[in-house]
Symmetry: C3
Subunit: 259 residues, 3 copies
Amino acid sequence: MKFNNKNVYVSPKAIIGKNVKIGDNTTIYDNVVIGDNSIICNDCVIGEPTGQYYKDMDNYENPTTTIGENAMVRSHCIIYAGSVFGANLITGHRVTIREKAVIGRNCLISTLVDIQGNCSIGDYSRIYSNVHIGELTKIGNYVMIFPYSIFTNDPQPPSNQLIGSEIGDYSIITIHCCVLPGVKVGKHCLIGANSVLSRDIEDFSFAMGSPAKKLKDIRTIPSKIVEGAMHYPWPFNFERGMPWEGQDYNEWLNHNIKE
Amino acid sequence: MKFNNKNVYVSPKAIIGKNVKIGDNTTIYDNVVIGDNSIICNDCVIGEPTGQYYKDMDNYENPTTTIGENAMVRSHCIIYAGSVFGANLITGHRVTIREKAVIGRNCLISTLVDIQGNCSIGDYSRIYSNVHIGELTKIGNYVMIFPYSIFTNDPQPPSNQLIGSEIGDYSIITIHCCVLPGVKVGKHCLIGANSVLSRDIEDFSFAMGSPAKKLKDIRTIPSKIVEGAMHYPWPFNFERGMPWEGQDYNEWLNHNIKE
Amino acid sequence: MKFNNKNVYVSPKAIIGKNVKIGDNTTIYDNVVIGDNSIICNDCVIGEPTGQYYKDMDNYENPTTTIGENAMVRSHCIIYAGSVFGANLITGHRVTIREKAVIGRNCLISTLVDIQGNCSIGDYSRIYSNVHIGELTKIGNYVMIFPYSIFTNDPQPPSNQLIGSEIGDYSIITIHCCVLPGVKVGKHCLIGANSVLSRDIEDFSFAMGSPAKKLKDIRTIPSKIVEGAMHYPWPFNFERGMPWEGQDYNEWLNHNIKE
């Protein structure tokens, strides 16, 4: 049904891998590199030129945009030139990602996510619907950000002194949270709905409120699923799509020691 | 001005009713059924294939998508295959609706609404701009959801035990609310702005806060419009677009007795 | 790379200024007027017909839409007929603006902003990503609205008595705020993240919370950048893109006295 090569434009300066599918009405600009076996659905714009293009079209050179192999980019996404995506990217629809974003392997970026660029997201992280990520934000590995949470960067608006926030590995920011500029959330944290994060949160904290405060250690939160068990740290209890899928998380850790 | 049949694709396996208009740049895939006198505006995708399509394109059969008569689908909407919409649907722009959503008659689904599929909305309900509805949510009849409210379904993220929330008939969720997994809101409730719903709310409650608590019975809330009158239950004071328009709500109820 | 005149439609009844660029897949309907040196990027719809069009296509006359000179409208925007934009407009992607909006000079309207029409925004105001502006809202000059803040207009939903809110010159509404119907925010105010504005806020207030209350005078807030200095009123400390850029704000005021 799809992929009828209707109203498609692919720049001769783009490098398209083997067995890549490109949807109807999609445009791929100069210096885009797409890995093998990727699917770029319909109505996408990949390698959207940066603001510099409009100032001097004749001499503009589009920065390289790299999308790793096995990507699945759903329809109506706009990805600016100058961003890099690891293998196995999955997106929803209508994602907007500005220039100089560095996104790791096996990430999910859902419908309507708005990434302002000049930021980083680690491997295996999941950014759910309608999350807004300001410039300079650093999101770790295995992080989950739930819908309508936003990351800001101007500590005293308006100013020219932008500071990003940092989210540690395995942490979960649930829905409708505001992460204020410069805030550091540790590893294995869980932030409750509708929180305003204005202070740093230490590792293993369950925090919520406005301003968000630590309420307890996540390792004391009983499972709602297995009676008498604990649910967090979640990698011991959830594996779908994670690199430890099909094996024990401890076992996986033993073979993948990182600092 | 519109409907110039430019860059339109309609599958030969789609069934298009009488007097249907289809906008430019719109795609209608296999097994879509559109009722008489409907308008599908420009740049829409109707019957978007599900994830299964990408796994086996050759043998994929698109699920049936049914849009009732007199629909008005504004531009840039994406409606997945396998959803059902009653008559007189009205949408805003850029709506995204995943598979297996069941939407009743006379519903309004405004601009940027994101419905994750596998959920239900009753008749005459209005989902305003930028509402996010997670899988398994059940929204009743004559319900109004105001902008940026979201319905979640994972009680202990991340887990595989999704539970939807339920919103009773005639209830109103105002702006920026978070409805947590499994929460049941009764009938004729009113939920104040920016609330987090983590517990069930009984019929006729005005509730708000984080967590949202009942503050009073809605039948005690004075009208801001008619001095000395009460405003809720609202069907006694508002009829625009409702089936009791032009008659007294009590009279209409008498002729439309439901349990 | 862009502007290849591919799948473009410009109504013969549109008036396009000198040196205007129009992107691929863009549609410009009847009675749109675009000022000189403007750029309308790809996949836009300018002069989208109002609801009246669908009721009587044969006799429908599209209201005039005016976009001032030097506009930069990024891709995938939908601008309804009957709105007016001053010179030097900049938009992000996927902006939706309904009819009868009156937007001043030098405004920024970022990605995913949803303006419901029949409202006004003054000069040099900046509406950041994913802000929702209901009908009848009045936003002053040099105002900044940060992401996911929303302006409502129904004081007792559902009703037919809409009342807009008003935001005074130089005021800043930060992220995730709810501005309730009829609320007036004075000049030079600063509203903290995730606030619900249900009462009027006087000039020079720093307010936050739910309901938002004045916590202090903004003129007592120390700068985070220059030790010992005050940061607000911000025009003394921020000039990028403002008409006083390159000169002292006081000096500029002396030459631009307004009531």
